[in-house]
């Protein structure tokens, strides 16, 4: 490896977690002066790789080389010592401190034990000057916009004079022109000989910023290609792979009756003018990238977040002042994206969780016993094939897939007319996914409609009758899954068609 010009390189790097292989056989090198993009779907292994390079996750196997010499990065300090710095997606700045203090956090120059302000400001200004950005080092960090905070975050990393700078989704919170400024900054740093590792899921950015691209899929290193020789379509293909598509059963046809109608639903800054109808027995997909407003839309439909204008019509009547309790009474069910925080009481039993939404149906006149609950719980456990030792065990003892089934079973017992699923397949295994799709199809056969939001576009293509495409808060398109593939759908979601 010693003859390579790479500043930082890996050979056959892998990481196992109990039950899963997060990353396997990754051999990649980062050269000084290049912007090297790391790309892949959720769970592809991007962040695992980056964390290993930053010293915060220890590899299970494989080697890491710095300047051709093998190194062990067992802590973030080890990585710093090798000149590797990382800027994480979540900003880590202290809003109450000045820009200079944040840049030099923990390393502010001191004179006789007291902060030497003059030196602090001068040093921080020096870092910013080198980056050719104009930010007042005396400003309170919390008063800056997100874009400038992002720059301060990068300056903080640059103040360590790193040879490798890793940026984790740096543009996720930025507007377009801010993104361009950031790109200029990143290019400038690369021109000085810093190796930039750029993690993103925004494909359309790559053309503007990346020299080379490494694609990961399901923890495997698919390929590393030069950006000038590669089209976005090719990269999308590498990201998604050859997907074996299961057929949706042919007998499932949506009926003619409208069960839910959404008219001009708007929530300032989140989504705008959303119109659609949902038909009896229909499985309707909503496709969109992170931040497209799909989660917010679903929450608003369920009355969990207030909308500013527009209305939701259920059973022919417009619902005023919707709340989750009211929407539930009107036959809506909702499984939230964040299973752990929003759908389950982790410390409570599987039984209690499975009766949380449906206790009104299980009880008679408010009277409820364990026996009454148990009958319903046992039915759902059998129907959804939930693997449990005892339904009195804490729900936290279950795997992600089984936890999701508990949430779904809970709502099925409410006998809903419309099911809203937000990212139901996140973090669950393949088999559980297929069972979940089967649930949607079974519901469809009973005439119950489903709205299915997912980042996993191939799932939408596989499962849905119809797919709405959401971009920056707007529904921009409506497609039939028969007419396109998952990667074509991905391109449309990103506005690349």
């Amino acid at each position: 490896m010693s003859e390579t010009p790479f500043k930082l390189a890996t050979r056959d790097l892998g990481k196992d977690y109990p039950g899963t292989v997060a990353l396997d056989g990754v051999s990649v090198g980062f050269a000084p002066g290049e912007v090297h993009a790391l790309i892949g779907k959720n769970g592809a292994g991007k962040s695992t790789l980056v964390k290993m390079l930053a010293g915060s996750v220890v590899p299970s196997r494989g080697q890491i080389f710095c300047d051709g010499l093998e190194v062990a990065l067992s802590s973030p300090q080890d990585a710093f010592a090798q000149g590797i710095a990382i800027v994480y997606q979540e900003l880590s700045l202290v809003p109450g401190l000045t820009v200079a203090e944040n840049i030099l956090l923990g390393r502010t120059p001191k004179k006789r034990g007291i902060i030497d302000w003059q030196a602090t400001y001068a040093q921080a200004a020096g870092v910013l000057e080198r980056m050719r950005v104009d930010i007042d080092v005396r400003a309170r960090t919390g008063d800056l916009g997100v874009a400038k905070q992002q720059v301060v975050e990068i300056a903080k990393a640059m103040s360590l004079d790193p040879k490798v700078l890793m940026l984790d989704e740096p543009t996720s919170a930025l507007a377009r022109h801010e993104t361009e400024n950031l790109f200029r900054l990143v290019r400038g740093l690369a021109a000085e000989g810093v190796a930039i590792v750029y993690i993103s899921h925004r494909l359309h950015e790559l053309r503007h910023i990346a020299d080379r691209v490494t694609v990961l899929r399901d923890g495997r290193h698919i390929d590393t290609v030069a950006m000038v020789e590669t089209g976005v379509e090719q990269i999308v293909q590498m990201m998604f792979g050859e997907v074996v598509q299961r057929e949706r059963p042919g007998d499932l046809l949506p009926g003619g009756t409208t069960v839910m109608e959404v008219q001009g639903l708007t929530c300032e800054g989140k989504f705008a003018e959303v119109d659609f109808s949902l038909y009896e027995g229909e499985v309707l997909g909503i496709a969109g990238m992170l931040g497209s407003g799909r989660t917010e839309l679903l929450k608003a439909l369920f009355g969990a977040e207030p909308a500013d204008s527009g209305k939701v019509v259920l059973q022919g009547r417009s619902v005023d002042r919707p709340t989750p309790a009211r929407m539930k009474a009107l036959g809506l069910a909702f499984t939230p994206e964040d299973r752990k925080e929003e759908a389950l009481v982790q410390a409570h039993s599987i039984r209690a969780n499975m009766c949380m939404a449906s206790m009104g149906q299980i009880a008679s006149g408010g009277y409820i016993t364990r026996k009454m609950e148990q009958a319903v719980v046992d039915e759902q456990v059998a129907k959804l094939q939930i693997k449990v030792a005892s339904t009195e065990d804490a729900v936290s003892s279950l795997s992600g897939g089984n936890q999701q089934k508990v949430v779904v079973g809970n709502w099925l017992s409410t006998r809903p007319q419309v099911m809203l699923f937000d990212e139901p397949t996140r973090g669950i295994d393949v088999q559980a996914k297929q069972q979940l799709f089967q649930v949607m199809w079974d519901l469809s056969r009973e005439g119950i409609a489903t709205v299915f939001v997912s980042t996993e576009l191939e799932e939408l293509v596989e499962v849905c009758h119809r797919i709405l495409i959401m971009r920056e808060g707007w529904i921009v398109d409506e497609v039939r899954p028969e007419t396109l593939t998952a990667d074509e759908l991905a391109l449309r979601c990103m506005g690349e068609n």
Partner: protein, 318 residues
């Protein structure tokens, strides 16, 4: 097999076992402990705090707390006395005046608690702070009502509510038993109880399950304050006056009993039955130590140490 079963049973009933052991020790060590009269006496002593403790259990399970129950007891007693006096002065019969005054106090308690709950859900002010404020407001109001001297407008029969016996059992103990049964049923066998556990376990998950979180919190806060008012009425009946200085520090005894009973201060977990054990445990401890002529100073120290030990035992058990 039966050993494993016994261990499981022992673990789930650890506080019962400790209570039993305490009773066994006291039966031998403390003269006069193991007599019907003394045990009924213990029951009477714990019943007023116990009534509040059952309400407090619901509040703590829902993820809130009420620090104002002690002052609410004093305030309700004074309010009942004050209203009785005022109503009787208008020419209304004494009996009717007392009845209306009691009703007024209960409603007042309910309203105070509901307001704390409302402030919690509407403005996000923690109940710890709101009820801390109520604590001084209610103490001050009780003193304003009485002018610093106990009010004694009550008719003879009123004493029954705090000091009377029915079929040989102290009347407050009967109320205590009724409130226990009622709250036990509510928490174990109704959708209301299930909702309270869910809200305390994860309020956002409860909300997204279509549970009206705000209503649950307002109602439990109102219920505990109402039970405190009920205890206040019985207390004023026992001493036959409305005095602003009664029930000082009760909130801590009540919360201690709930915690000893295994209810988690984090919310979402706990049992009314556990609180019953906690209340009786504290009552017997005080009674036993008094019978053994242990000085009051030592009693405080022992009580504190035992409260902490009980919590540690519960924690280790989970």
């Amino acid at each position: 097999m039966w050993i494993a079963k016994a261990v499981t049973w022992g673990k789930s009933s650890i506080m019962e076992l400790i209570l039993f052991a305490l009773c066994a020790i006291l039966a031998f060590e403390a003269d006069g402990f193991f007599s019907v009269d003394n045990l009924l006496n213990v029951l009477r002593n714990v019943s007023m705090q116990g009534i509040i403790a059952f309400g407090m259990t619901m509040v703590i399970i829902s993820g809130e707390i009420d620090l104002s129950v002690g002052s609410a007891v004093a305030f309700a007693g004074c309010l009942t006395a004050y209203l009785t006096e005022s109503l009787a002065a208008t020419g209304l019969g004494l009996g009717a005046s007392v009845a209306l005054a009691m009703l007024g106090s209960l409603l007042m308690g309910f309203a105070v608690g509901a307001l704390s709950g409302f402030i919690r859900v509407r403005f996000g002010v923690p109940s710890f702070i709101t009820t801390l404020a109520w604590m001084t407001v209610l103490t001050g109001s009780a003193q304003l009502l009485t002018g610093g001297f106990p009010l004694m407008p009550f008719p003879e029969w009123y004493n029954f509510l705090g000091g009377g016996y029915l079929l040989g059992i102290p009347f407050p103990a009967i109320v205590f038993a009724l409130v226990f049964l009622l709250t036990h049923f509510l928490m174990g066998y109704t959708t209301w109880g299930r909702s309270i556990y869910a809200v305390g376990g994860n309020a956002e998950a409860a909300r997204l399950s279509g549970i009206d979180v705000a209503r649950v919190k307002v109602v439990v806060m109102a219920v505990v304050a109402c039970l405190a008012a009920l205890a206040g009425i019985m207390q004023s009946a026992e001493i036959m006056s409305g005095a602003a200085t009664t029930a000082k520090g009760w909130e801590l005894d009540v919360i201690a009993a709930v915690i000893i009973g295994g209810t988690s201060l984090m919310g979402g977990e706990g049992k009314i039955r556990g609180t019953l054990i906690g209340v009786v445990f504290l009552g017997i401890l005080v009674n036993g130590m008094t019978l053994m002529n242990i000085s009051e100073y030592w009693q405080h120290v022992v009580r504190g140490v035992l409260i902490l030990s009980a919590v540690l035992v519960n924690r280790a058990n989970q």
